[in-house]
């Protein structure tokens, strides 16, 4: 009485439909906002609305990879590189979050971990003896260690005091922001610069470029490799097995003899280490100094991406590239039309809501399960079933 039914395919459809609905929603919003109020007739107004919305969507959907010379479509190298570069930090935070979420821990401290990681990395990038090749490696390792240490605090509080990691990791984000800015301002500020930025990094700290003109750095390669490695660790090693078992049923894991407390601790720290390098890659790849005045928000993006990817590191890659694409598309649309690029936030919210809402399309799934169940039953009993 069991059925061959791949629920995974269903999730795929559901995500696709959610994205479709979100895009449609965006289109409708633009359409209504672009009907000129002084249109000669209703018909004229509607047509103008469609024309404007089509134009906007052309930039939004194609802008990151296409540019136009007259009517000729050319590859938009600058846009594509921006797309890849912008995806790097959110791939990394998506991975970091998917590690903790795999064990059903609710650590939302990636934002603070990457911020502190970048602050510590800044000191090393500026002061560390300038040895080529070694320098960026040491910078990245510093960021990872700092991120891990930053994650130890809520992890310890959870293990020793049973303090909710949700609350403590959230608090640590604020501590990181203000302490980080204080450290930069006090010890490594470039007083010659007009705004609050650090001294420039040593040239040796720079990540190698793949494309120097538009500054495509190897951060994307590091991100993709990280995704594959983390996927492998979670899926193929005994450590990853423990993590997933804990995520599925921690009581069962404990009963089986797994040292659950210690694995949970390791998971938090590993996730902190990964998150730690998210901002640093961008900083030593695309920029040449610490220049954040407030929290960049990548940690929060990571939560969205991990959720969308259902904690699968390979899907994290896809989800992050997708988000980065629509964001770059929105910016290009904003430059070429007068539509605010913030509309992309509405789209993101709609997608997340639809994908995480358990009930969305679940009736459809239940009906298809029932249909199959009846077929199986008919085959088994030879009786016709209504």
């Amino acid at each position: 009485m069991k059925l061959k039914f791949r629920i995974d395919t269903f999730q795929l459809y559901r995500t696709g439909i959610a994205i479709g609905i979100a895009l449609l929603l965006g289109y409708i919003i633009i359409f209504f906002s672009k009907i000129p109020s002084d249109a000669a007739s209703l018909w004229e107004g509607v047509r103008a609305g469609f024309d404007n919305a089509n134009e906007a969507f052309k930039w939004f959907l194609l802008g990151p990879i296409v540019r136009w010379r007259g009517n000729e479509m050319l590859f938009n190298e600058r846009g594509a590189i921006q797309w890849l570069n912008e995806s790097v930090p959110i791939i990394i935070t998506g991975l970091a979050v998917s590690i903790v979420f795999s064990a059903k821990q609710f650590n939302i401290g990636a934002e603070g971990q990457l911020f502190m990681g970048a602050v510590a990395a800044t000191f090393v990038a500026v002061h560390f003896p300038a040895i080529p090749v070694l320098h960026p490696i040491v910078v990245i390792l510093t960021a990872m260690v700092t991120g891990a240490l930053w994650a130890v605090v809520p992890a310890l509080m959870k293990a020793k005091l049973k303090a909710s990691e949700l609350v403590s990791s959230l608090m640590m984000n604020y501590v990181a922001l203000y302490m980080g800015l204080f450290l930069i301002k006090t010890f490594i500020r470039d007083t010659k610069a007009g705004s609050l930025v650090s001294l420039p990094f040593a040239a040796t700290a720079q990540l190698p470029f793949i494309n120097e003109r538009y500054r495509l750095h190897i951060g994307i390669v590091i991100a993709v490799v990280s995704a594959v490695v983390i996927w492998w660790i979670l899926r193929r090693t005994t450590w990853g097995y423990q993590v997933r078992l804990i995520g599925d049923n921690i009581n069962f894991a404990q009963y089986s003899g797994i040292a659950t407390q210690s694995v949970v601790f390791q998971v938090q720290v590993a996730s902190g280490a990964v998150a730690g390098m998210a901002g640093t890659l961008e900083m030593i790849g695309y920029y040449d100094r610490f220049l954040w005045l407030f929290s960049p928000g990548y940690g929060w993006d990571g939560i969205i991406i991990a959720t969308l990817a259902r904690n699968n590191p390979l899907f994290v890659l896809v989800a992050a590239l997708f988000f980065s694409y629509i964001r770059v598309g929105a910016k290009i649309m904003g430059r070429n039309t007068d539509i605010a690029p913030e509309i992309v936030s509405i789209l993101q919210a709609a997608i997340i809501l639809l994908v995480t809402a358990e009930a969305f399309l679940s009736g459809l799934k239940q009906r298809s399960i029932e249909k199959r169940a009846r077929k199986v039953e008919e085959a088994l009993t030879g009786r016709e079933v209504k």
């Binding site: 009485m1 059925l3 450590w239 599925d248 049923n249 404990q254 040292a259 079933v385």
Partner: protein
């Protein structure tokens, strides 16, 4: 065998062509028709997993059918929620009671009912209402006592009174006797007779044939989600019913060779456990399990069995006392060290502890050995070897699943238990703690598991069997202890000739062996008690 329309009585309920497919794809009910007459005791008979509870949950508005029609008092009805069912006059006593332990009987009965307009119900008044409601149907209960302080049989009465006070005319009892001793069962049956004499209708779910013979007027038999037939009980023999229920003749007797007993493997010494709320659940329990024997533990649920098993398997720390394995006292006992010392554990709460539901069968059967060869090397798993091993277990234990990579939640209850058993029986253990190993699973799977237990014992493994099923306990065990209120109140070194009734008397606390007879088992002394106080 179907005789849907030859009814002589007026029907209070008809369910027609009911289908229920759960979200995991299990077809729990298929094309089910059932008709219940006013004023009868109608038994719904079927093996574990046949779909009895599901059908009744649909009737009670707890689950929604995929399709089908329900007629109540001749009118077609849609039962959207239990609230609606109660309003219609349907009451249900679930397999697991739904009472608040810290509240009194009266409070539990009246919980959630609107007090009459303008006046709130005072305590004295509440006691009176509940007492009267009970007495009317011969169900006397200690209204002012807390639920946690009364016996399981009493709790069940409270559940029944709860439905009556809410105006139930049709009362559904889901396997009410599963938790009762033989003596309590007799009491329950008396009460059910009074209920129908007063015009109520009862649907009685069970898989025990002798009970059907004793109490029911008619039966409807379910098998694998389908109705096999409906019949008058007086026209049927137990053998006929059993054949309908299982689909074949069942050979239930397990051939047991005399036990060849070896050295002491597990020794429990003066175990005490005091819960967080200061209730002493174990009061100086001592016993030992030797190689090559099955020690059975009888007792009404909630007399310390859960805590005892959790302490032995390292899930819980005792307040006092020791566990020794192979004559070595375990200092730092936790699930990991327990398993290392050669213990394996079939937990009673298999959905909570026995499996990880979203994980695959493969992932579930290696959970205690994933770090060993051949399942992994240098911290890297060997997927192909894991798959091969799992396929072997699926064959050996006859687990009904089409792929070793299917997630466990897609399996039926009996097959989930086989996954647990397959893992625990192949762990190479010297001691097996089997806690309710056959609860809620079908006859075939139960029989298989019992035979496995006996086989392990013949191989020289020591087995500790905790079971609420007295028939099973008497059939499988070599020795039996009875646990009552956290104490060993009886021990039987010989199971031959022992009856369920005798066990029942000790389980209820009616009888108790003298300290002399119990020497070596219950060692409650004055000094122990002092220790507890601190």
């Amino acid at each position: 065998m179907k005789e849907m329309h030859s009814d002589t009585g007026v029907s209070i309920l008809e369910m027609r062509d009911i289908w229920k497919v759960y979200p995991n794809g299990v077809i729990a009910n298929a094309n089910v028709d059932i008709q219940v007459r006013k004023g009868e005791i109608h038994a719904l008979l079927g093996e574990n997993g046949a779909g009895k509870t599901t059908l009744m949950k649909i009737l009670f508005g707890f689950e929604h059918p995929s399709s089908g029609k329900i007629l109540y008092d001749g009118k077609e009805v849609a039962i959207a929620s239990p609230h609606k069912a109660i309003a219609m006059g349907i009451g249900m006593v679930h397999q697991h009671f739904m009472l608040v332990p810290s509240l009194t009987v009266a409070e539990n009965v009246l919980l959630g009912m609107e007090p009459k307009k303008g006046l709130s119900v005072g305590m004295a008044k509440a006691f009176e209402i509940v007492r009267q409601a009970g007495n009317q149907y011969g169900l006397s209960v200690p209204v002012e006592k807390k639920i946690e302080d009364i016996s399981v049989g009493m709790r069940q009465r409270v559940e029944i009174i709860k439905t009556l006070v809410r105006g139930a005319n049709l009362i559904i009892l889901d396997e009410p006797t599963a938790v009762l001793t033989p003596q309590e069962t007799v009491e329950l049956f008396k009460a059910l007779r009074i209920l129908v004499d007063r015009g109520k209708t009862v649907i009685f779910i069970t898989h025990k044939l002798n009970e059907v013979k004793q109490i029911a007027d008619r039966i409807t038999v379910l098998r694998k989600g389908h109705v096999v037939g409906t019949a008058e009980v007086k026209d049927m023999t137990q053998v006929e019913m059993s054949r309908m229920m299982v689909g074949r003749d069942v050979e239930m007797v397990i051939e047991k060779k005399p036990a060849v007993v070896g050295p002491e493997l597990l020794c429990v010494k003066k175990l005490h456990y005091v819960r967080e709320d200061k209730v002493a659940v174990l009061n100086g329990v001592s016993f030992s399990v030797r190689a090559g024997e099955i020690l059975g533990i009888a007792g009404v649920e909630g007399n310390g069995q859960t805590e005892l098993v959790q302490i032995i398997t390292g899930l819980l720390s005792p307040s006092k006392g020791d566990i020794a394995v192979n004559e070595k006292v375990m200092r730092r006992l936790n699930p990991k060290t327990a398993r290392k010392s050669g213990m394996s554990h079939i937990p009673s709460d298999r959905m909570v502890r026995g499996v990880a539901l979203e994980s695959t069968v493969e992932e579930n059967v290696i959970s205690d050995r994933y770090f060993k060869k051949p399942f992994s090397a240098y911290g890297i798993q060997s997927p192909r070897k894991i798959t091969r091993f799992t396929k072997g277990l699926i064959d050996q234990f006859d687990i009904r699943v089409d792929s070793s990579k299917r997630s466990v939640k897609m399996l039926s209850g009996g097959n989930i238990q086989k996954v647990v058993v397959a893992r625990e029986f192949t762990a190479g253990a010297k001691i097996i703690i089997a806690d309710q190993p056959t609860r809620g699973i079908d006859v075939g799977a139960s029989d298989f598991i019992r035979r496995q237990l006996v086989e392990e014992r013949d191989q020289g493994v020591g087995v500790l069997l905790i079971s609420a099923d007295l028939t099973e306990l008497l059939e499988v065990s070599d020795r039996i202890l009875v646990l009552y209120r956290g104490e060993v109140v009886a021990h039987f070194d010989e199971v031959e000739g022992l009856t369920e009734e005798t066990l029942g008397e000790y389980m209820l606390g009616i009888k108790r062996m003298s300290e002399d007879d119990l020497k070596g088992y219950s060692q409650e002394t004055a000094t122990d008690k002092e220790g507890m106080e601190r």
